[in-house]
Amino acid sequence: MKQFYQLNTKKLKSVLSLVIALILSGTLPLQAQVLSLDTPQQYHPQAFVHPGLLHTTKDLARMKEMVANQIEPWKSGFEKFKASSYSSSEWTPHPAEHVERSLLLGAGKNIGDLEKDVCAAYQNALMWTITGDEAHARTAIAILNAWSKTFKIFDGTDVELGAGLCGFKLANAAEIMRCTYPAWSPAEIKQCQAMFMNVFYPPIQYFALWAHGNWDLACMKEMMAIGVFCDNHALFDKAVDFYYKGPGNGSLIHYIINESGQCQESGRDQPHSQLGIGHLSEMCEIGWSQGLDMYGAVNNRLLKGFEYTAKYNLGEEVPFEPHSDASGRFPASKISISGRGNLRSIYEMVLNHYKNRVGLPAEQYKYTKMAADKLRPEGAGFNADNPGFGTLLFSLKGENNLNVGNK
């Protein structure tokens, strides 16, 4: 793993040099909607780690052990997680052939059912690995099979969001179940992979260059997740490439626009800003599972976004630089007070990475820690937006370990 890390560092060097040069020159190219379809470089040529999305085998084992031994904060995190209706093995899926997520008045089909079912699939998969209760495994598989057998059409004005958010949680559920539940048959797994490639991937394949960054990011994290679950390196590379140098608002430096941590959506509202940095962190976590240090990119830019956002939402002031986004559609002259103070369940994952894995000085993650402390134990993510429950899912034991992928 260490050898691979060095290999990727070398490959990423030129990319990051370009990014930094562009930042310093102040000439970030603006592209509203034209997308280069060039094949990205290879970021992960060797076989994927499985399970290797938000949770590796080691992560799952840690959760199981800590919960079984009633150790805090996992104990209280699990109590909150277990209380969620999506964690119930009684959950019944409501699959549909056609799902539409649309902004248009009166439009929209079955998106609510899909969002609920993917949350239930993901949480039942985790309940299964934490408790060993096979009822949860059966429920997770029932949801995965029901949808992969039925689901054919995904459309609507906001299909990128629908596919990105829902597909991400469902892929995480599938990735866990494939590795932990042998009763899930190869044919069913193949059918599930086909659903991801044929129904979830097409709407996200061109990202969402015209939109606020959380749209790109929903596509990016889902693309990365499908890449791993379907062992499709091209998809994985395409998503990671976009993280580093994509032309849209979702790339790291287009979303967290400066060293102070201001986000592309900071001038829009605080919930979307938290949604966006949450997406970025989930990509980083998958990268870490696979041996890539995306957390460290551009001098830990992700952490700066979290610190800025947490600080403002904890009631303190932050600098704001008038900003026009990569698409040019969303200029912002001041930070938005909309939704300020409503912390989302996104902070534990990032805190634990920088504090416990990397061992950064405490002042560098001061506000992220304050946000996590305030929320602990973290509850559900909003709808299917983010995984939530970070206290249970992402708390580490306090070990500092700089080896990428050593989870």
């Binding site: 509203a32 909607q33 034209v34 902004l103 061109y206 015209w210 939109a211 698409s327 040019g328």
Partner: protein
């Protein structure tokens, strides 16, 4: 006697359908041919020997697949289409008999002129002449009433309307109207001509071919000379009448017709629209018109001569979608400046997805401070291709693009602008992703601005459909300019908006490159000596081609021109195939990467005229 006539009429009604199949077309065994001639009677059966008298009568008999052949003569009637075809193989065709002049006029001849003194004559027109539509009581523009919809014609030439009798007395070829005692009075100065002996006519009808409210589909109109139609003013968010008006109908073919002296619109391929005061991202403008793309438009407007019309040659909301407008000569629009609206143009289309506007000559389009465009597109023209058109002598821009997410392609056009200093030539407002390749721009101004005021929620569609994919504001950006020839006016007038690219162009006659591109473009010192050589029905190009250098340019492939992620499409044909621009205006190809930018890869020898357009009558 009455009893016998009634029986005869009943027998005719019964027998006519039985007799018409005797005239079956050789091409289509289920279609019938119905003849109409000025020598006929509407009580005839409608075959070649015993033709009908009126086209309107033939219309009442027409069934899908039928052909109505009209013989020479002047037909003063408005044909309202109640019947329609059912498919491309079952269209209802109205065509002029081969080689015969078939004229359809919206006017009536007046022979009751009374001389008033000097050259002024007076005619009193009873209201029943107008049959409920009196164009002499309707102002074109209510706010600035200077001209009525109606007009007076002498020997097929329109006279100029004045507002006072004194003016009419002074100006030969003018007229004025008043309303007295429920009648329309016309006072006209015919000079030395006697209107009772010459051909004096006045407008009385609003259309030549129109349809019932729901429109009619699969109609063919071929070979007519349509004139003197008092078509009322059209509005994109209102009614859209025309001398020929599809009124929401689809799949029409209009070809080989001439349309002249149509007061407002000559050919309307639109439908009644409405305004959207409460539009928002969840309910954007024109959402109510979004439907299966196969159920709209698909008209072919081909090889027509449209001249001396007031508002627009071809006009319409929605049904320009998937339509082809080609080989038309459109000239002398709004000559008298009676229309002061932005909606004055040679061709004016909105919500025209995948429309093709190919090889039309549009010239002499007048206007005031508003209007007078060669081609005005928008809102919404995703997937449009504007190719091989010649546009010149327009009061304002040759091309006006308004409110669209793109992409749209403009290739191999020759646009002679009203002057760089006027800032008119190619005018864009919140028009995204327009790709200009191999065009010749002469003395054009260029601009692309964001629509001021309210932020619009502009739809874009899944490629080649009317399924709304996104509703976000359209912005001035992502325009691409490759391998064009700029003479006198260059892209230095444009700011480098996001995503805009320009390169491999040539700039001549003091035209300047842009500051944000043109890395490989070349600037010519001296003059290209551009000149359009026009004559009746044709136009050609003179150019000092030896002054235009070759530029090494990549293949104008789909990937080079860009993948437009918002619309999820390349520059594409309506069937989804991506377009590579590898032919010039004349259809010539070249394998050389180093070639002359603009619409011709090669020019004939120096000082010769390159033919651009020749309308074959």
């Amino acid at each position: 006697m009455i009893h016998k006539q009634f029986i005869l009429a009943v027998l005719l009604v019964i027998l006519l359908p039985l007799q018409l199949p005797l005239n079956m077309s050789a091409a289509n065994t289920t279609s019938r041919i119905i003849h109409v001639a000025k020598t006929g009677l509407d009580s005839n059966v409608g075959n070649e020997k015993t033709p009908l008298l009126t086209i309107s009568k033939a219309e009442t008999l027409a069934q899908p697949g039928d052909q109505i052949i009209i013989h020479k003569g002047t037909y003063r009637e408005m044909i309202v289409l109640h019947s329609e075809g059912t498919s491309m193989d079952k269209r209802i065709t109205y065509m002029a008999a081969s080689g015969e002049d078939v004229i359809i006029k919206g006017s009536e001849r007046v022979k009751s002129w009374v001389k008033q003194g000097g050259n002024i004559w007076r005619a009193e027109i009873a209201e029943n002449v107008f049959r409920g539509f009196n164009p002499f009581v309707i102002w074109i523009n209510k706010e600035t009433p200077t001209a009525h919809l109606g007009n007076v014609y002498m020997n097929n030439n329109p006279l100029k309307e004045k507002l006072t009798i004194d003016e009419v007395g002074r100006v030969e070829g003018s007229w004025v109207t008043t309303q007295e005692n429920g009648k329309t009075n016309l006072l006209a100065n015919f000079g030395k001509l006697n209107p009772n002996k010459e051909l004096a006519e006045i407008n009385v009808r609003s259309a030549a071919f129109s349809t019932i409210d729901s429109g009619a589909s699969y109609i063919v109109l071929d070979g007519f000379k349509i004139a003197q139609i008092a078509s009322p003013m059209a509005a994109i968010n209102g009614e859209q009448p025309g001398a020929i008006a599809v009124n929401g109908g689809t799949y029409w073919l209009v070809q080989n017709c001439s349309l002249s002296d149509c007061k407002s619109v000559a050919i309307s391929i639109g439908q009644t629209g409405h305004s959207y005061p409460n539009a928002n991202p969840g309910n954007p403008e024109y959402r109510d018109l979004s439907r299966d793309i196969s159920e709209v438009g698909h008209h072919v407007i081909r090889h027509n001569h449209i001249f001396r019309c007031g508002q627009a040659g071809i006009y319409g909301l929605l049904h320009g979608t998937c339509s082809e407008i080609s080989d038309n000569l459109i000239e002398d629009i709004n000559t008298n400046n009676e229309f002061s609206t932005e909606e004055t143009a040679g061709i004016r289309l909105a919500m025209a997805v995948d429309v093709i506007v190919n090889h039309n000559l549009v010239r002499r389009v007048n206007g005031t401070t508003e209007g007078g465009y060669g081609l005005f597109l928008g809102p919404l023209f995703q997937g449009a291709r504007i190719s091989r058109n010649v546009i010149s002598d327009t009061r304002r821009s040759c091309i006006y693009l308004y409110n669209n997410h793109g992409p749209a392609l403009f290739d191999n056009n020759i646009l002679s602008g009203p002057g760089k200093e006027s800032k008119e030539g190619v005018r864009m407002e919140s028009a995204e992703a327009n790709v200009f390749v191999q065009n010749l721009f002469y003395d054009c101004g260029f601009s692309n601005i964001r629509i001021p005021g309210k932020t619009f929620a502009t739809s874009n569609y899944l490629a080649h459909s009317l399924v709304i994919k996104q509703t976000i504001p359209a912005l001035p950006r992502d325009d691409h300019w490759y391998s064009n020839l700029f003479i006198k006016g260059g892209l230095d007038q444009l700011e480098g908006d996001a995503g805009c690219e320009a390169d491999y162009n040539v700039y001549s006659d003091s035209a300047s490159t842009c500051s944000w591109g043109d890395k490989h473009s070349k600037v010519v010192v001296g003059s290209a000596k551009f000149k359009l050589v026009g004559s009746a029905y044709s136009i050609g190009l003179k150019l000092n081609n030896e002054s235009i250098p070759k530029v090494s340019c990549p293949t104008l492939s789909p990937s080079f021109m860009g993948f437009f992620a918002l619309s999820k499409q390349f520059i594409e044909y309506p069937d989804g195939r991506a377009i590579t621009i590898d032919k010039d205006f004349s259809g010539n190809s070249t394998s050389e990467s180093s070639r002359i930018p603009g619409p011709f890869y090669q020019y004939p020898k120096l000082d010769s005229i390159v033919p651009l357009f020749n309308y074959q009558k």
